[in-house]
């Protein structure tokens, strides 16, 4: 019997929502890690029982959690609960994210006031498990850098070629911080990885992470002096359909964009959207030209447009958009949908899910035609991921 497991990170804990393939009745588990900010949870495509989670706190810093049984139990990698303390090298380095000194002399990035500021680790925004190896997982962090673990999250090493890219000193934090929030692994080419940083832009490696190039040609941003600059763009999220890994869709600060050549060139596809500001974007699991966004009013008013919670769907790869409203509140709604808070399953029909800052998680079991809330009153939702279970 097929089913889905929805992994929800919120401001005050994590929740796991499960259903069978009909996606009508849901079991809700949680809060896990109650009281902590859960920026992201994601399951391994190679082992659905393996789930990684980023647990953070302004007081206690970063914690990495791992489940090997589909979210029933959790532990900090390297320090299973109850394990006796043994002499030897320190354990529990799973929350140690040390920037690679080989990235020197690059030790600063641009601060809000234009001065240079040292790189300082703050938190993990996004965890991206390898497509093939359950013990390999990537972490996108603030201040922006990419880390990789090959031992199930016990130890992390930076891929310094990204932060060491020549443009690094010009990277600057967006309102949410200088965060690396998007990691996309190319299923057709294990050496190719895409990442995105607010507010630096999108980057790609074609050699497994040693060398990186900015892929921002075609992006235009009014808030930087040179609107067509190589870097400095506030990319909010990027999505790919695995069947067509050279085609990417991007929700930029303003503008919805697409590329058909792996990011070498972008064009705007905002079309008839009521506003093209937003955070979340995703692609239908089976129809690579069907994409979803949730327009947000503006960068100064982070809530949905006209008090209506509407997902917009394009079946033409952009430009022509239709509002999806059935089951969603159409008055007095002022929530936001954050960048990692939308996901799709791979059942037939494709399920679409998103969470709001108002604590609702909505599901559509018919590719967006209609929606139902799975839960209505969680803490503000930071991230939503879906596992399609056999």
């Amino acid at each position: 019997m097929s089913g889905v497991r929805v992994l929800v990170g919120t401001r005050k804990g994590a929740f796991i929502l499960t259903s069978d393939g009909k996606r009508e009745k849901w079991d809700v588990s949680g809060p896990h890690f109650a009281g902590w900010e859960m920026y992201h949870l994601k399951g391994s495509p190679a082992d659905p029982n393996r789930i990684y989670a980023s647990q953070t706190s302004g007081w206690f810093g970063q914690i990495i959690q791992r489940s090997d049984d589909g979210g029933k139990t959790w532990h900090q990698p390297g320090t299973p609960p109850g394990e006796p303390v043994a002499p030897g090298p320190p354990k529990s380095a799973s929350n140690k994210f040390a920037y690679d000194a080989s990235a020197k002399p690059l030790t600063t990035h641009q601060w809000y006031d234009g001065t240079q500021h040292p790189w300082e680790f703050k938190r993990v925004w996004h965890l991206e498990p390898s497509l093939a190896e359950p013990d390999t997982v990537y972490a996108g962090v603030e201040d922006a850098a990419l880390f990789r673990s090959t031992d199930g999250g016990e130890n992390w090493k930076e891929l310094p070629g990204l932060r060491g890219h020549g443009t690094g000193p010009k990277w600057q934090p967006g309102a949410g911080g200088l965060c690396l929030h998007t990691i996309i692994l190319d299923p057709s080419n294990p050496k190719r990885i895409y990442i995105a940083i607010s507010a630096a832009g999108a980057f790609r490696t074609d050699d497994g992470g040693t060398n990186w190039k900015p892929i921002n040609r075609g992006l235009r941003s009014q808030y930087i002096p040179d609107q067509d600059a190589e870097i400095g763009h506030c990319v909010h999220h990027v999505a790919m359909n695995p069947m067509r890994p050279n085609v990417l869709f991007m929700q930029k600060h303003w503008d919805v964009m697409r590329t058909d050549d792996a990011g070498d060139n972008w064009k705007e596809v905002s079309g008839n959207l009521p506003t093209d500001f937003g955070f979340a974007i995703d692609v239908h699991a089976h129809e690579p030209e069907t994409i979803y966004v949730v327009p947000i009013k503006s960068d100064s008013e982070h809530f949905v447009h006209e008090g209506k919670l509407r997902v917009f769907r394009s079946r033409a790869g952009g430009n022509e958009w239709e509002p999806l409203t059935k089951g969603l509140p159409q008055e007095n709604c002022y929530v936001n949908v954050l960048r990692d808070a939308m996901a799709v399953d791979s059942l037939d029909k494709c399920g679409v899910y998103f969470g709001t800052t108002g604590g609702q998680v909505y599901a559509s079991a018919d590719a967006g035609d209609s929606w139902n809330p799975i839960v209505r009153d969680l803490p503000a939702v930071l991230s939503v991921e879906v596992q399609t279970l056999a």
């Binding site: 009281g35 302004g58 206690f60 970063q62 914690i63 109850g82 303390v85 529990s92 380095a93």
Partner: protein, 99 residues
Amino acid sequence: MIRVILPQHLRTLAHVGSEVSLEIVDGPITQRSVLDALEAQYPMLRGAIRDHDTLQRRPFLRFFACEEDLSHEPPDAPLPDAVASGTEPFIVIGAIAGG
């Protein structure tokens, strides 16, 4: 025997109650020796009280003992005799921040 009181979230991480006991055999009883012993006994707390590399106190945490704020004392300064004897606990507490 040194007594240490932890805030709720650190108790959850370490799977302990509100107070833990530490045995420090060698040397003076200082912030550093207490926290070293705490992290050795509960390695899941590494990085959650002090930075992994610099061992600096995390900014929103405070160290109290004997009704004194010891947060800004040098890490190698001796702790009060009452802490060293186990009469009073060494308290790790989250600063009030954010309302």
